[in-house]
Symmetry: C2
Subunit: 335 residues, 2 copies
């Protein structure tokens, strides 16, 4: 196991612990050539590995940050985490990814555990149910960045997509393609992006003077979606275009299509709000609204590391535009 300590190296090299410490922290300025090589050799001979825990205790920094993801099953979360990790790697920072699984209690537990582990800061996809806790962290000056979701009226940097506008654009695209019976399907409206996507949908219908119909709007838990889809497609006038609110919803729509043996874009046009793997190479290629997950992740990391280094950051909302990519699941409606 880990045996060799700095004291051993010091003894081996015939110097004191502090000198070894100096050496390790590359403070060579006032260090004699011989002492340096002697320490170097001693370290090699003993195969000494420094203990970062001890250093952290003293320095009050761990060079670790935490990422608390609301639900790791979303491709978007994975892409963002990945971008954060990559950014951190260049600064010799470790990222610990935790999955709150859409459970506020689990989120709370992770926040407390990561803070107890003295991680230097946190990037959170907030469940938005632990407002008091968020508030307390922020007030205490602890570095935090919010990602993807809005929560409360807190004074910290937030990275979000322009959900309203992007959903608007997708619906606008449907309308330009001749659709009038347009549906939007999301999970429960318990998070800001979902609600915003529905808002964009409504706004666009309104601007085009298309009547909003409740029966075309599904906001239900994943488990309910098959039933809801059955219902919606039994209408005398089923929708001809669907906007899937995220990748998990898309999965359910695929399942539904499989079950009914129907296909896109023949039966309806489809746009998915989310990054999905294979979207471009699938047949038919899937039209998507893709969020700039990589840029968003990098920005979050940048803002967090700046806060950790006590540099000034703007405590505002950083909004990212998404990219509506029309592929083969969108078709013109001619009736």
């Amino acid at each position: 196991m880990e045996r060799v300590t700095m004291a051993d190296v010091a003894k081996e090299a015939g110097v004191s612990k502090s000198t070894v410490s100096q050496y390790l922290n590359k403070r060579y300025e006032y260090m004699g050539e011989k002492t340096r090589t002697r320490i170097k050799e001693a370290i090699e001979r003993l195969d000494y590995q420094p203990n970062y825990i001890a250093r952290s205790l003293k320095q009050k920094r761990t060079s670790m940050i935490g990422i608390i993801v609301a639900n790791i099953m979303h491709r978007f979360s994975t892409e963002v985490s990945h971008a954060i990790e990559e950014y951190c790697y260049d600064s010799d920072i470790q990222a610990i990814v935790c999955n709150a699984d859409d459970d506020p209690a689990k989120e709370k537990k992770y926040i407390e555990m990561l803070m107890a582990k003295q991680v230097d800061g946190l990037i959170i996809f907030p469940t938005a149910k632990n407002i008091d806790l968020y508030d307390q962290m922020i007030k205490s000056g602890y570095p935090v960045v919010f990602m993807d979701r809005k929560a409360g009226d807190l004074n910290l940097p937030r990275i979000v997509a322009n959900n309203v506008e992007s959903a608007y654009d997708a619906v606008d695209h449907f309308i330009k393609y001749g659709h009038r019976k347009i549906s939007i399907i999301t999970q429960e409206l318990s998070t800001s992006p979902r609600a915003e996507r529905v808002t964009g949908y409504k706004n666009c219908l309104q601007d085009h003077e298309i009547e909003y119909k409740d029966e075309y709007v599904i906001n239900q838990p994943i488990e309910e979606l098959q039933l809801e889809l059955d219902r919606m497609f039994s209408l005398s006038q089923p929708p001809t275009a669907l906007l899937a609110g995220n990748d998990l919803v898309f999965l359910e729509i695929l399942r539904f299509m499989k079950r009914k043996s129907i296909s896109v874009p023949e039966h309806f046009s489809l746009v998915v709000f989310d990054n999905i793997p294979f979207a471009d190479v699938a047949t038919p290629a899937v039209s998507t609204i893709s969020q700039p997950a990589f840029e968003m992740g990098q920005k979050a990391a940048e803002l967090l590391l700046k806060q950790i280094k006590k540099e000034d950051v703007e405590l505002k909302e950083y909004q990212y535009p998404c990219d509506l990519v029309i592929r083969e699941t969108s078709a013109r409606q001619t009736d």
Copy 2:
């Protein structure tokens, strides 16, 4: 920031640090009822949060483990990591996931950094290029479990899939479906699973007395695959069945199909060796050899935690059978 320490709580409650420590570690046996409540109240009043770093320094355990994934872009890696995390969550252990990105130098750096951070053990998808380092860790008694890939002849628990047999089964399935011109496509044969899958392929052809043809076997980096596929499908006798060696290869095959406007199973049958999202709900649904990623991850975690707790574990290879799921991309060949 983090201000309140155990000493503050002790003072506030009018007891000594050691008593507070006892309380926190739930050693109530010899503790007076009143002291207990006084400490409890003091903790609440001060909103004290223990510092796990200090505890770790003393106890020489961090309750963290590291996962070093060879390449995070594989769905399999994500699923395994996820299973490990879930298992660890129940034991109050944190998992730190690092992506070596198929780079032995990066793998080495991560191993050293995680050990310096005093993580209690490591689950590694080895690049198999750092044998000396692996050897050293294992000799020193550090808890390690290998996942997915074989590396060197080391004395530690290894979790692997039965690659030879599973590839064999897929080819056997092709042959039963009337195929004789069967191709296998993988990346470079630099890892054991890839080589084993090719072995299974060869064995099966041999058992069925089908001639092995080099021109049907592609083992090239991802970037070369489009060229190689072009070449292979320009043969006078192109293959009628393809076994894709993993999910990234599958992506390239999809890209190729898109480019050539050809489809499965009309142009060829396809089985993918890997877990891919949407496989069952895609159209056509994709035949896959799915690895029991969840079980493999759980087992790895179980074996690692046992080692950490100094319990005996068998230092052997744990081999997991995969599941050949025939879906719609496999068709009978009638010519």
